[in-house]
């Protein structure tokens, strides 16, 4: 499968999910808009996945255990 075919397949899969969840609210023009937005998301995700990170590269996200103070 070519890269372009892989992108199109991923877009169609995601679009099917959105159609399943929200299709009743969307007309053809809106669905086309959603498809365009999904294409951008898929391309961005692929760009992120193309960068290799190590196991030590953690999310830049603070989390702290919580305990209510008296």
């Amino acid at each position: 499968m070519s890269d372009g075919d892989a992108v199109r397949a991923e877009v169609e899969t995601m679009l099917a999910l959105v159609r399943e969840r929200y299709g009743g609210r969307l007309d053809a023009e809106q669905l086309a808009g959603v498809r365009t937005a999904i294409e951008a998301i898929v391309l961005a995700s692929r760009a992120l996945r193309a960068v290799r990170l190590t196991n030590a590269d953690e999310p830049a996200q603070p989390f702290a255990a919580y305990r209510a103070e008296p």
């Binding site: 951008a40 998301i41 961005a44 992120l48 960068v51 990170l53 999310p59």
Partner: protein, 466 residues
């Protein structure tokens, strides 16, 4: 009081108030009148808060008369982007028709801090619906209509803090509070010829502000000068138990004269690629000015998908923050047609990809700090384009129709930046120059911006016919 106080910087108004040459009540009346009379021309105002303003102004006047002067914002009118919660029956609409009658019973921390500083809330200012997080492509994306630019009423004032930009530029308030997730302070500041300061993430409490993206949202001022931005930042900065992302770093604005200082500026390689010609030309002229203030050198960041990192975080968090609005179908009530459906696409973002973006954000933050460490600031055009026309399409890095490495890195890594006007182009529209610094270096970038403003007079120009 005559309208000759309009377009005076906060610092000068404050001197007049402190010396009791200016009455806070009379000052409030001037700006309330302008908000009511001229606000509709620019679609800048959601609610004029006349009752609260006069109450605060009368209190300020009495306190100052009794010798209890609180500081440079005491008695100064201002406006707040309408995503900051306000009590007392003042609506907080988030710019969105489904929320146009909604009221909160508390004040956002920034509103409370400004009240403690003695500032006078005169208006809740218009904004792009839900701060632009639903994917708008056009200026007409608020129930109040498109933000109209005081420099050219056929052009957009910018987004998403559109009213904050147009109200200050039109002299309806001396300063305003805006918010930025990606571009929403620097964009209206640039489009409207103002100074706009995006503080370091965690510098200003977001408590009571509409959440678009918890890890990207920042609150900051738009004003006539970089100096005024520093005065306002000092009032709103600080740790807040109600916002756990705020930090225990005291902020005191350093207003010292930057004239004796030599700055070291960096310019990212290729930063003007994709800029409009006029923007590129004004930036080149700005660099000549900056070379008189210090050194300018080209620097580079490693090749990473910066826009994709910040965009993925923004889309995923916005989809979650507005899950109820999206899944209930309430977005169908939004103004811009594309805002009624684009967010549905965000279900296509996988958790793994969001986490990858958060992991890459750490790399991005470290690389940005490495590049910035020997510098006082990275400088760049505030925006790649001048303001869009009201009937046109908005080019946006958030949607991928423009590139904005400075915005992607600056917002993704939570770094401070200030934009100031650096010239004008055809159609009478301003362009801007941004200074971006290391985390917590607001004083450094403000000093650089003030030095630039001391060497130029773009900030002293104001729209005609206001």
């Amino acid at each position: 009081m005559a309208e000759d106080v309009v377009f005076l910087p906060v610092r000068q108004l404050a001197e007049g108030i402190r010396a009791r040459r200016l009455s806070p009540v009379a000052l409030a009346e001037v700006f309330l009148d302008r908000l009511e009379r001229l606000g509709p021309r620019y679609n800048a105002v959601v609610t004029v808060t006349r009752g609260r303003a006069l109450e605060q102004a009368q209190r300020a006047e009495a306190e100052i008369a009794a010798g209890r002067y609180r500081g440079p914002l005491h008695g100064i009118p201002y406006g707040a982007k309408d995503l900051l919660a306000t009590s007392g029956g003042i609506p907080t609409t988030w710019g969105a028709a489904p929320f146009k009658d909604r009221c909160f019973d508390f004040d956002a921390t920034a509103i409370l801090k400004l009240e403690a500083a003695g500032a006078v809330l005169c208006a809740k200012l218009a904004m792009v619906e839900l701060a632009g997080g639903m994917g708008y492509r056009q200026p007409n994306a608020a129930f109040t209509g498109p933000g109209v630019n005081p420099w050219n009423r056929e052009a957009w004032s910018g987004g998403s803090s559109s009213g904050s930009g147009s109200a200050v530029a039109a002299g309806l308030v001396p300063f305003a509070i805006g918010s930025e997730t990606w571009g929403s302070i620097l964009s209206p500041a640039g489009n409207c010829g103002l100074a706009g300061l995006r503080p370091t993430y965690g510098r200003v409490s977001r408590h009571g502000a509409m959440a678009l993206c918890w890890t990207l949202d920042k609150l900051g001022p738009l004003a006539l000068t970089a100096d005024d931005c520093g005065l306002v930042l000092e009032a709103i900065a600080g740790r807040d138990a109600a916002d756990p992302t705020t930090v225990d770093r005291a902020y005191r604005y350093d207003a010292g004269d930057p004239a004796a200082r030599r700055f070291r500026f960096g310019v990212l390689r290729g930063i003007t690629d994709g800029c409009e010609d006029a923007v590129r030309e004004n930036f080149a002229r700005s660099l000549e000015v900056l070379r008189g203030l210090g050194t300018v050198e080209e620097v580079a960041l490693p090749d990473l998908p910066y826009d994709d990192i910040t965009r993925t975080i923004l889309f995923a968090e916005a989809a979650s923050a507005f899950e109820d609005v999206i899944e209930s179908g309430a977005i169908a009530g939004l103004t811009a047609p594309e805002d009624r459906y684009t967010a549905y696409a965000r279900d296509a973002i996988l958790a793994k990809d969001y986490l990858k973006a958060l992991r890459l954000r750490g790399v991005m933050a470290r690389e940005a700090d490495r590049v910035l460490a020997p510098l006082d600031a990275l400088v760049a055009p505030g925006r790649a384009t001048v303001a869009a026309m009201l009937g046109g399409e908005v080019r946006s890095a958030i949607r991928g129709t423009a590139r904005d490495v400075m915005g992607a890195v600056g917002n993704g890594a939570g770094l401070p930046a200030v934009a100031v006007p650096n010239g004008f182009v055809a159609r009478g529209l301003p362009t801007s120059l941004q200074f971006m610094g290391r985390a917590w270096e607001e004083n450094t970038i403000l000093a650089a911006a003030r030095a630039y403003q001391s060497a130029t007079d773009w900030h002293r120009r104001h729209p005609a016919d206001v």
